[in-house]
């Protein structure tokens, strides 16, 4: 096989905020995790394993946030996921009966019932409720390059005023990665691709070799990048930045021009949780009985109409295949062009949210598998690669300082800093400073004080999740986001007060430790180190 003319790096960012409420029997937002497992994580693992078993060589890069890793490993959520799945299996069985006289729907009811049953079997019997393991095994087989991310998806550009907090997000993130994957991360996903010049130093301290930015992070870097985003930029610290290619991103991300909007694909917004008679679906809704998405959806996008047509999985699969071919063809043309312009093999970085595949774009996992197969079997012009493999081939790269940037709307900090959420920074910065002071003030704490300090670190991290600011802006679930900010601030403040008064309520602390139980390894001294 001839030397490829260029490379494609598919990067999937896998993240959910930490949502775990053992104090409630049933909690709406915990469904984010359950839906993601059924619709995204299990389908992706299944397809990657199938590709590996079929001997299709492929390389894919996936970031996993520590909050998601903590939830995937949590026995309470694991048990609740199985309970959730059992309800879905029950509902889909009822649907098989109910749709008996409506063949297109009957077929879909059988389709869902089979899917949920198979998901349960894989989750319980094959993976024994541990979904991190199959990803780790794919990494060991050399197909998957897992990369780390910040502790709780803190948006670093707005944390720069308290450097110890930004640094701790990175250090705790790396540590969580090591616990899950048993190795140091080579790469790092900056939450929301939020880059602030200088933060690459913290990555360097942890031995990270590269991170991802949005296109303009590199394009607007200084000095001017000779190869645009098609080669890594080496930051002054020596860590590499890989810039996103927007041409390939757009074909998947764009709501209008992108593949996921095709009329043959499954319609996200028509769900039996909303469509069917209330009393019938009531047992499958949450405690408060508000209608919600069950995951059973019978219609295809059809067009800009309310008169949706029944979904046909076979036609959707054909379309996914067509779109995979189109994506590959466009990359071939792009690489041909870039290769001529650069006189070196370009790397195209295509990052996406993992949850786009399967959850939003139902056929996304099929598309991905078909794309990987086509790239291997149908052409020789380019091959898949991970960023770290690229600089094994091209160790010499241009040094430049990337520009502050994010992949949020507007390209900078607007999404996380606007009239709907700007009030949070006053508190987050204050807490981060209090944390740093407390960490420095307690060099040799007794065991109980140490526990309180570690828990303060957890509460601070949880409050810093970029998700809350984002949700406040989008105006959906705002009550929940506000409540989370409030509660972590309350817990943090009381812990801080307890330390000052030298009076720690151990019973209450234990309760917090079992509620916000992520990062058992967290050592508060991470806030006392460095500047």
């Amino acid at each position: 096989m001839s030397e490829p003319q260029g490379f494609l790096a598919l990067v999937l960012h896998t993240h959910l905020p930490f949502v775990r409420h053992p104090e409630h029997a049933d909690f709406l937002e915990e469904r984010w995790l359950f839906e993601a497992i059924t619709e995204t994580y299990l389908p992706l693992v299944e397809r990657f394993e199938r590709l590996a078993n079929d001997g299709v060589p492929f390389r894919i890069t996936m970031s996993f946030t520590p909050t998601l890793l903590a939830m995937l490993a949590d026995p309470v959520l694991q048990a609740r996921y199985i309970r959730h799945l059992d309800k879905l299996i029950e509902l889909s069985a009822k649907e098989i009966d109910r749709t008996r006289w409506l063949p297109p729907f009957h077929r879909l009811a059988l389709f869902y019932h089979h899917r949920f049953t198979a998901a349960r079997q894989r989750y319980v019997d094959t993976y024994r409720q541990d979904l991190i393991r199959p990803f780790r095994q794919l990494a060991e087989r050399g197909c998957l390059e897992p990369i780390a991310s910040c502790a709780t998806h803190g948006f670093l550009p707005l944390m720069d005023v308290v450097p110890s907090a930004a640094r701790a997000q990175i250090r705790i993130g790396v540590e969580a990665f090591e616990h899950a994957f048993g190795r140091r991360p080579i790469g790092f996903w900056l939450p929301e691709c939020g880059y602030h010049p200088g933060h690459d130093r913290y990555l360097k301290e942890m031995g990270v070799r590269y991170f991802l930015t949005d296109a303009h992070g590199v394009l607007f870097g200084s000095p001017r990048p000779k190869y645009g985003v098609y080669a890594p930029a080496i930051c002054p610290s020596g860590v590499a930045a890989f810039g996103r290619d927007l041409e390939s991103s757009k074909s998947v991300w764009s709501a209008e021009e992108g593949y996921p909007g095709d009329s043959e694909y499954r319609e996200f917004y028509r769900d039996i949780g909303f469509d069917l008679e209330y009393d019938y679906v009531r047992p499958y809704l949450n405690g408060d009985g508000t209608r919600l998405n069950t995951g059973i959806k019978y219609y295809r996008i059809t067009g800009k109409t309310n008169d949706k047509q029944p979904y046909d999985p076979d036609r959707a699969l054909e379309k996914a295949s067509e779109h995979a071919g189109n994506f590959m063809f466009n990359r071939q043309r792009q690489i041909e062009f870039l290769r001529a312009a650069m006189n070196r093999a370009p790397i195209i970085i295509s990052p996406y949210d993992s949850e786009l595949f399967g959850h939003w774009w139902f056929e996304g996992p099929e598309w991905l598998e078909l794309l990987i197969r086509k790239v291997h079997f149908d052409q020789q012009q380019f091959s898949l690669i991970t960023p770290s493999e690229y600089f094994q081939r091209y160790p010499t790269n241009q040094v430049l300082e990337p520009s502050m940037s994010s992949w949020g709307n507007g390209g900078y900090n607007d999404v996380w800093l606007n009239g709907a959420n700007d009030w949070i920074y006053r508190h987050l910065h204050h807490m981060a400073e209090q944390m740093t002071q407390a960490a420095k003030a307690h060099a040799q704490p007794d065991p109980l004080t140490r526990r309180a300090l570690n828990q303060m670190g957890r509460e601070l991290c949880l409050a810093q999740s970029s998700d809350w600011a984002f949700i406040l802006k989008t105006q959906t679930h705002t009550g929940y986001a506000y409540r989370r900010l409030h509660d972590h601030m309350a817990r943090f403040t009381r812990l801080d007060d307890s330390l000052r008064q030298r009076r720690i309520d151990e019973g209450w602390l234990s309760e917090l430790e079992s509620k916000d139980n992520l990062f058992p390894f967290l050592d508060y001294r991470v806030y006392a180190e460095g500047s």
């Binding site: 409630h24 109910r98 008996r100 006289w101 409506l102 297109p104 729907f105 009957h106 077929r107 059988l110 550009p157 929301e192 303009h216 394009l219 607007f220 200084s222 000095p223 001017r224 000779k226 985003v229 098609y230 810039g243 290619d245 927007l246 041409e247 991103s249 991300w253 764009s254 709501a255 309310n306 949706k308 029944p310 312009a341 949210d353 786009l356 241009q398 430049l400 502050m404 709307n409 900078y412 900090n413 999404v415 800093l417 009030w423 920074y425 006053r426 508190h427 970029s466 998700d467 989008t474 679930h477 009550g479 929940y480 409540r483 900010l485 309350a490 817990r491 403040t493 019973g507 309760e511």
Partner: protein, 307 residues
């Protein structure tokens, strides 16, 4: 909506109730913090204690009081050790007494800024209350600095810029200025929206949907078997059974066979149900989905023939 309607159980300490914690308005400090929003805008939040403001006012002469105003003074301190060296330029924003934060338009990508909050007299005297941290607004556009080891011409740069920015090949500086904001920064779905989706705007105009489900229910001796149209139905411990079926337009003969536990007795009943629709749900006269004429009739379906 969140399901967080019920209050969480209180913490162990009865005297402390988490839900009663109120997020403070301030922390009793004198402080101003400056953040970057984007290349053209900054954001500042601040807090000044009344005692600090009183102390500053104490320096004033009686004639300074009329027209006294709180202002934000924005300094361009690019490459300067401020305040030891003077700023390149500065401008003021007059504040109302109640403001505790402000969005500041600087329109100066690539410049560094420090902000001071102070009192400005009509005579132009500025009394400093608090000074901010330093920030640098990101440069917007290609850098003018070229590394001689990585020489690139304008032409070559734009060649690679077009596809990277998703605006196609052959772009030019004049084209990107218009296209970049539109293409570079509109990913369509932003990360996070996956879990907090906004339902799309409803199609305009009045609409309605009507569907019909049929419920067949009955009871027999416990452990009997019930078969409806060739498919068995679960019989509950008390002998009752029920089956819900989406009912399409037309006539269905529903054969129900009930057999006793010992298999010796059986009954067969066949309710015949006819559903007919008049009227239309949408302006073009289309019938609701399950009754669409392009769909197979119930009799086309052979049980068990489906995947």
């Amino acid at each position: 909506m969140s399901s967080w309607s019920a209050a969480s159980p209180g913490p162990g300490d009865q005297a402390w109730n988490e839900s009663q914690f109120s997020i403070p308005a301030g922390y009793g400090e004198d402080r101003i913090v400056l953040l970057v929003k984007d290349p053209w805008w900054l954001y500042a939040y601040w807090e000044v204690q009344p005692s600090t403001e009183r102390a500053a006012r104490g320096q004033l002469l009686p004639q300074d009081i009329p027209g006294l105003q709180s202002v934000l003074r924005i300094y361009d301190v690019t490459g300067i050790d401020f305040p030891a060296q003077p700023a390149h330029r500065s401008f003021d924003i007059g504040l109302s007494g109640l403001a505790t934060n402000w969005y500041i338009q600087t329109n100066a990508p690539g410049r560094e800024f420090i902000v001071e909050l102070g009192l400005l007299t009509a005579g132009g005297r500025f009394l400093l209350l608090v000074r901010s941290n330093r920030v640098m607004a990101p440069w917007f556009g290609p850098s003018d600095i070229i590394d001689e080891n990585w020489l690139t011409t304008d032409e070559d740069y734009w060649k690679l810029f077009g596809p990277a920015a998703g605006i196609g090949v052959g772009s030019s500086p004049s084209a990107w200025a218009k296209l970049a904001p539109q293409h570079l920064f509109s990913p369509g779905w932003s990360s996070g929206s996956l879990w907090a989706p906004n339902r799309p705007a409803a199609i305009k105009g009045f609409w309605c949907r009507v569907n019909t489900d049929l419920i067949i229910h009955g009871a027999t001796e416990p452990r009997s078997t019930v078969v409806v149209q060739g498919q068995s139905v679960a019989v509950r411990k008390d002998g009752s059974f029920s089956l819900r079926l989406a009912l399409p337009e037309g006539t269905q003969a529903v054969t129900i066979d009930v057999t006793s536990p010992d298999g010796r007795s059986s009954r067969t009943v066949t309710p015949v149900i006819t559903l007919a629709w008049t009227g239309a749900l949408s302006p073009d006269g289309a019938k609701p989905n399950p009754q669409r004429s392009d769909m197979p009739r119930p009799q086309d379906l052979t049980p068990g023939s489906l995947p």
